[in-house]
């Protein structure tokens, strides 16, 4: 019960921290990291939601787990793409 | 048993100080190493606590990757060094 709210709060705070990093930057790499932190917060929210049945002694919500897994792959792909663009931008700058 | 996990986590918490403080890059990479091995230990303990044998697989994966990571990172960082050396010589 208490843990549930603890993780829920942490998830939202992670989103907030990521948002702060995204706003502040200043480097683009840090902004990309910040997006990942936001993503981690959202995924944590989803996994915590999937944990609700466990508190009643049932197995966790596997649909949410699957969604998060899909989301993780999407996030990693997008990060990789962004980092590739950033890398090109940086090598070109000099 | 979860006390064991708690203490392990606490020892990780101590390690964070070193990442923040540095001073050399080596110290930071070391902390990743510490997180890897302590993380493996915590996963082993959690697998016992929750009776989830699947967490052993996670520990195995983390162990292997923690083994692979330094080889990749060091190689990458050497490229960085080489690159900045090239640039200063230009």
């Amino acid at each position: 019960m208490l843990s549930f709210y603890l993780y829920l709060g942490t998830a939202v705070l992670l989103v907030g921290i990521g948002g702060l990093g995204l706003w502040r930057g200043p480097e683009l790499l840090r902004r990309i990291l910040a997006l990942n932190v936001i993503g981690a917060g959202i995924f944590m929210l989803m996994v915590t939601l999937a944990y609700r049945p466990v508190m009643q002694g049932e197995p966790a919500d596997s649909v949410l787990h699957a969604l998060v897994l899909t989301g993780l792959v999407v996030a990693v792909s997008a990060t990789a793409f962004a980092l590739a663009l950033l890398g090109r931008l940086l090598t070109r700058a000099d | 048993m979860s006390v064991v996990a708690l203490i392990l986590l606490f020892s990780m918490l101590l390690g964070i100080w070193r990442v923040l403080k540095g001073p050399a890059l080596l110290d930071r990479l070391l902390t990743i190493q510490l997180f890897g091995s302590t993380g493996v230990a915590i996963l082993l303990v959690l697998s016992k606590v929750f009776a989830l044998p699947a967490l052993l697989d996670v520990a195995l994966l983390l162990a292997i990757l923690a083994a692979a990571a330094p080889a990749a990172l060091v190689q990458r960082l050497r490229q960085q060094k080489q690159r900045s050396r090239q640039r200063t010589s230009l």
Binding site: S3, L8, G9, T10, L20, G21, W23, R24, G25, L33, N36, V37, A40, F43, V47, T48, Y51, P53, D61, V63, H65, L67, L69, V73, V74, S77, A80, F81, L83, A84, L85, G87, D94 | S2, A5, L9, M12, I16, L20, G22, I32, G36, L43, S47, A54, V58, L61, L62, I64, A67, A68, A69, L73, Q75, R76, Q79, Q80, R83, Q86, R87
Partner: protein, 304 residues
Amino acid sequence: MALLLFDLVLCALLLLLAGAAMLSRSLTQAVTLFIAFGVMMALAWARLKAPDLALAEAAIGAGLTGALCFTALVRYAKQPAYPQPALWRPLTFIGLVTALLLASLSQIPLQPSSAIPALVQQHLPQSGVSHPVTAVLLNFRAWDTLLELLVLLLALLGARQAPGDLPRYRGWSLSISWSRLLSPLLLLVSGYLLWRGAAAPGGAFQAGALLASGLVILRLNQQLSWLSWRHFWVRMLVLGGLLAFVLAGAVSLLLQDLGAVWLSWPQSIAGAVILIVESFATLAIAVTLTLLVVGEPKPEVADA
């Protein structure tokens, strides 16, 4: 009690790492902290009884993201001196938004009203696999997974438009032989994860990501020079996952009667179809991620 304390310390660690990564002065520090954050996330997933995600996060957070971020970091050869941006204005705004979000969270019902978990359990026997997450990914919501593979492919296609050139140097013999020693083990374990996926946590993505890490260290240590988009077979591997998926969809559409819909595997062969699709997807994910992380091979430069 100890578990609650464990949760408390874990959450504190997560927030501390994320916050420090966002606010730290140097970028190297931020990246290191972020990798540590990835490891902690894997622990959090393990704590929340999501072993599938813990596997995936361990493979991504500890392996690939680290390699990716360090690759980008390498390009920031000398760190440009940015003025330290203001903190208070964003902090107030974000704090406000976060508080609003937190306030709305209190209305989340503790007892989920969803019928989905029960439905998953009910249809699991017809799905061809016995692990619910795999059943959702490869059967119930297979269309999502297909599109997700497409997103991964697109990341590669996009990244290929922006090739960055990094000189390569011969590794030390220790690191080369270590990577040679490690790679069969990686291959073995990823095969194991793939095979486990049908009945237990594991599956295509975890196996693929692990395999990719193996390929990446081999590539960084000057091996596998054949691994390039120019080779037809490498392209075949990259596209294989999607092709297998689409073909499986088409074939099972033809095998069934006219009323059948897209991506419904006939029950008798569902297990086999899923295994085939997953195997190709694993290879595709592995090769795609590797190409994303290390790019195209370039002629080797002698060690300076």
